[in-house]
Subunit: 334 residues, 2 copies
């Protein structure tokens, strides 16, 4: 097998708002698969908000990136050359090769994808990290009971959309928060939330109050910032918050000053922060249940697919600023 591997690296730590200049595209020779290894060609790359804080040189749940490092990320790839009998040529696998076109894997670091179970890209969204995040954060941590009110921020986003649909399956009242009328329409009309509030509306807080007459029992939080403060003002006694993301701060010069600590205390709220990569043994449970709901038509999802690895930086930046619509993928194999 001859050819070249193209990869996108972090050229420098972003100042605050990440820009395309913070990335570099490099080419190298294709790696060679050794014994028990397979060379794969990436089909799809998943772009996710967690990648942004990894670009900052601070203490975090994973070692931060250094200039020159390949950008990380989950991928779907196809075996094109193999020295591993369990991964014959043509096998499609989920793996974590990051922002590049090729890589070498062993059977221990991949999950083989059933190509008859629907589009292989679903393994990067509702049947992958996205779905596991939604399922774990909502059902294992927040544990909503029927008739409770669940609020989901970034409701039209990849995780948020799945969270809200699971909450509906569980009999909850589900209120989404999203940016713009089009996303809000999608969340209600397509995903079946009971309501969705546009946080850009001048009377956002008033609309939120009207949509949560019994206050908020569960918050699945992806955003942070003033939207979180607004929801804290509606929080109910013994509410549970699953803190999954803080995307509003990722590109900010200064972190937002959250004013609602008082509400946590007054209403005896529990906050669970989590990262799904630490709960790998939970993934099969989540994905099995989500697969069933998907087959029954109870869960819908949307993908926003950028074409070609070169488009990854631009698509990543758009995702961080709300410019995408659904799970952001890159069609690397295009």
């Amino acid at each position: 097998m001859t050819g070249r591997n193209t990869k996108v690296t972090m050229r420098r730590h972003p100042a605050a708002m990440v820009s395309e200049d913070d990335f570099a595209v490099e080419e190298t020779d294709l790696p060679r698969p050794g014994d028990g290894q397979a060379l794969v060609k990436v089909l799809y790359l998943s772009l996710d908000p967690y990648m942004r804080p990894m670009m900052d040189p601070v203490r975090s749940y994973v070692p931060h990136l250094n200039p020159g490092d390949v950008m990380p990320g989950a991928t779907i790839a196809e075996v094109i050359e193999s020295n591993e009998p369990e991964l014959p040529q043509g096998t499609v696998v989920a793996c974590s090769l990051g922002w590049q076109t090729h890589g070498v894997v062993t059977k221990d670091v991949v999950r083989v994808i059933d190509q008859n179970a629907g589009p292989v890209s679903a393994a990067l969204s509702v049947l992958g990290m996205t779905g596991a995040t939604a399922h774990y954060g909502l059902l294992e941590l927040a544990k909503p009971t029927p008739d409770e009110t669940v609020v989901v921020t970034a409701a039209s986003g990849a995780v948020g959309g799945v969270v809200g649909q699971i909450a509906k399956i569980k009999g909850c009242r589900v209120v989404g928060i999203a940016g713009g009328a089009e996303k809000c329409r999608y969340v209600v009309d397509e995903l079946g939330f009971d309501a969705c509030i546009d946080y850009k509306s001048p009377d956002f807080e008033k609309q939120l109050a009207a949509a949560t007459p019994d206050y908020v029992d569960v918050l699945f939080e992806n955003v942070g910032g003033p939207v979180l403060d607004a929801v804290l003002g509606r929080i109910n006694d013994h509410a549970r918050i699953s803190l999954c993301g803080n995307i509003s701060d990722y590109n900010a010069d200064e972190p937002y000053g959250l004013r609602g600590l008082r509400h946590l205390l007054m209403h005896r709220v529990t906050v669970h922060s989590f990262v799904i990569a630490e709960h790998r043994d939970y993934w099969p449970t989540a994905i099995a249940e989500l697969s069933g709901w998907l087959a029954e038509g109870k869960i819908k999802y949307q993908e926003d697919i950028a074409e070609g690895l070169d488009s990854a930086p631009k698509a990543f930046i758009a995702m961080l600023t709300g410019g995408n619509f659904g799970k952001q993928l890159v069609n690397v194999g295009a």
Copy 2:
């Protein structure tokens, strides 16, 4: 029994910083005990930070106070006239009569105090709500393991002092935060904490980092504000925060803007907010264990006793601004 009942009421909602003008002293006739009731004379009143947010007309865990209401609070009282055989004259009870000199109780709303078990006032501090709060918030919610680092804010305060001593009994490294060199000396020399940092020091954050070389596994938080942000900057992976108080905000014009949400997420922190009044069935467990430790000399406590009910507003204000030293009581029976 003739005589008068003196009570302190909330005259108006405080603007921000509570002042003595927000209180009024009133006199009424003594109430008369009916069948199954006893008239009691208050000996000690407990002053606690939770009373301050109750003075604000906002949604909270208890109905807020209205102008003219008697200030609430836990009390120790002695039966002076009784129509209840189980509460003969001379019985000393813990009850919740608030800021007044007399009241009428039934046996269902009091806890009889063993007058041979030490000073009766301890039932308002280490062997009462204070001790139960410390025990529950630390051991039931945060669950520190030996060798973990536990940070306690308001470490010389009534709750904080007990929290740190329990954590030492459990084999933890315990770092207090308090205001001023005298309080810090007391926390280390008398209460046995491993270190105590003065949050008023210009190099407070540097001292905190030096005192928490392995970061912070458990935070027992009574204060909020910039001190909380500083501790969040040292928080460890999978840390647990027991959110017990937010005293720095209680008298503020504007709530503090907490900037450290990012650290909660990055380090997968769990935050438990609680109010001990909701866990009454836990009190006997806590108080039994604390009584044992007290008898063995493993727990020390300090009381700051103001003389006479008239002094309650002034003592309350001092407590909210760090002017007290130890559990703030009022000797009402003086």
